[in-house]
Symmetry: D3
Subunit: 190 residues, 6 copies
């Protein structure tokens, strides 16, 4: 079984480091998912930063937005595919499968989103996210206009930028510390 | 279900085009796999070329070689991952899962082979295959030497080059004609 | 004066949207800097997300860390230089000039950090941050080892990854919404 | 004379390895060309694979197709130019010169096909082949449509993909084993 | 102060090497600028070549042309920004600031010219210069047509090509020999 | 014959524009080569600039240097190969063939210089020139040291940089104006 048996290549933080107010959050993960996602255990190396990271993540991916939760996960996966981030492809690929109840959609987002027969609106959203990932300095007025024409509001455009941006951040942390996903993700929602 | 419901974006060839001598081969596919792989149905558009394509494929991937069948499939997947070929990632990702009996290995090859804890020999083989794919003009004596030092014979080096090269060929045909994998692959050997 | 006269290309949020608890923060900006950084006014389009963004930023760039505040700003600028992010180059270039009291250091970080005669430790830190930005999938054990050999702890490595990752996030939001820096930054600490 | 004096950097196969049924083929090469192309001598290292390689090559480049033999050779050379494959540029550059009776056409295909004043149909064909070589995941419906609009049938599109794909295969084998062309090609059809 | 304290990484030429007829030119630099630009001191290593280099530079950047001196300096800076040339960004960034009397314009040209609100004609000119720098083989008839449509004459197109080309030359000499700009440029026209 | 029948895509300058003092130079070209190289006829569009261009070219390629004339032409061709400049590959490829009396050397420089069995010194020189062309910001002290270790003096390093830089200039002018080589070059020194 060649997946490395570690959370990250750095020292593993002990859960005794977990700030007291976050204990219920970890418990909720165990109750709902059956495990604490390794990204949280990785962040535990810098325990004072974990709280804000969780808050940012939850607002961004689960909070109110003109983008559905599935759409935000689709952005997460296409960005992570461009960056070839193993952790996020495994964990968020599972989320796409689960939220869409369509395992093939997860595969398409992870391998090459362009093959999917998506509503034009979603295709435009993903094209924008990938361009912003691959060549951010090439994004121009015409790209924002394309989103408007598909009905995205200015707030939606902001959210697309932020979700795409955020996974460019976590992809890099994951690559930088060699973060491994919980093995449970692999079989989720197949 | 957003995976396009076609074999390719080109006219679909009728199985009546299948040359008589290949009928048993298609039957063998149905018996063993339960279906005829779409790549063969795609090639049926040019039926006179199908025979040689099958022969080449079988010699390359199943014939005698210093590389195991699993190793050849691992090369297939890392090359297809670099080229982001949906067809080959789905079909050959399934083959890696099946031959290795390790679904995670399939995911690692498809997403980012560098995270896997592989024997040094296999890692060297895949590094060579990816370099030959991404920047063929950069492959030099030192790269071949690295393979020799891991025990690969000259015949093995040739086979690595040929398998890597072959998937650079089929990846491009698949991209060029928008070839879709049989949906059965998705659930195979999970 | 060709710098666009807008905060972003999206609808400009009214400061009346500012959540009450953040009013003192904006006031503190005005007192200390003389203005509210445009990045905060941009985020005001999604006012409920502003609080966490501020908290993340402050912990990351101003909180306790084995990296000095100047080192974190140097990472910010070299990442933004790779991504050619006008907003961050102007705003964080100013921060490097101010914290280092060395205007030329700001120019070197913004134009090409490799010309600078830096302590080897800082050069290694910036090389890692740029590699993680430009080709995150190429970062490997050897890159982390190089940081260790220059005395960076595992927590420091995490912080380097996080700061570099974070600016890959904000650079993309800035590009995506065409965010313009406050003109005051241009003359700061020259 | 700096062209390496070898067929490949690997062990050179003895012609005694040549399967009996292929002896007439080698003889035909000697009769028609005056020499056996080195690519065949390279493949002799894996003699059981040589037969199918020859068959594939002949069907692809010489068999019935909506593309002329010259057009197939033009694709061969522009693909090999993108991949900077010395063997194929020398051998197939000579083929373009010979089939077209226009040495300058050979030079243009090898150096930069875009300078040539070609029929729009051929220019579209080469643009497609180069895009499929350089960025296969970017090829989309619009690219296939452009071919249709220039009168290419679906079978022709398949053949363009296959020829372009095939040279992405042989270019990589040639780079991988450092295959050198027969010196006779250099002066052919100048 | 981390800017290296040398003209170049090569042996520094003594001003006694200066050909007699160029002594007045160096004096004029000192009178007008207060210093001799380091690029001239770098070229003094090959004193017989300095005369022609000066002549070429003066004709190109100061001689009669349909492009204003400022426009030529803007091309210089966007090309140098693409190539990340520290010397030219510092020296010619200062020239843009001075000629335009607009420090922000200098920053925009150096960091990312696409954010600037320029007359369409100038934007087209810079787009052409950057494309010619980044992917010269992609420049085509349509790109020249875009310039014509903005009123550039054939002579102007030639001058745009020449100025862009010239800085691709000097950027590479500067990178190749690690040329450092005179520190006086940093504060010029801020 | 698909090579465009023009000097450049711009207005063709009349030879009556030739400054009087350059008439003998054009005559010398006709006497020695049998024709005036098209690059000079292209520059005639800006006749006042032709004189300095000729002077620069002659000093650089024919003047005293630690690099032989052939070595300078080899640099010209490998740079032009990287940039895929048809004009320079045809014209300077011919020069390499002529100066070396080895047509194959010309082909290797134009197609892929890495296949050539060159003295280590020349290989190092060409590696440096190509790196300076392809990724100038990556050239570092170690690259200059490699040249020193092969016996190149500081003046030689300067000349390598200048010749490589110069062809990055002329390649871009040639691409920018679609400059075509004189057809006589094709058959020269085959």
């Amino acid at each position: 079984m060649p997946q490395p048996d570690h959370v990250t290549a750095l020292a593993e933080a002990d859960e005794s480091m977990l700030p007291e107010d976050l204990v219920p959050y970890f418990q909720k993960c165990r109750d709902k998912l059956g495990f604490v996602p390794n990204v949280l255990r990785a962040w535990l190396l810098r325990p004072e930063k974990l709280r804000t990271f969780i808050k940012l993540y939850d607002e961004l991916m689960l909070g109110p937005s003109g983008l559905s939760k599935l759409e935000r996960e689709m952005i997460a996966v296409v960005v992570s595919s461009w960056n070839r981030c193993y952790y996020c492809l495994v964990a968020h690929g599972a989320a796409v499968r689960k939220l869409s109840d369509d395992p093939q959609l997860g595969e398409m987002m992870a391998f090459n989103y362009r093959v999917a027969e998506l509503p034009h609106r979603q295709r435009a959203m993903l094209d924008f996210a990938v361009k912003l990932t691959a060549a951010p300095y090439d994004v121009a007025e015409a790209d924002r206009d394309a989103l408007s024409q598909h009905g995205f509001s200015d707030e939606d455009v902001f959210d697309i930028c932020e979700v795409a941006g955020f996974f460019n951040y976590t992809n890099r942390v994951a690559h930088g510390v060699d973060m491994m996903p919980n093995v449970e993700y692999h079989t989720l929602a197949r």
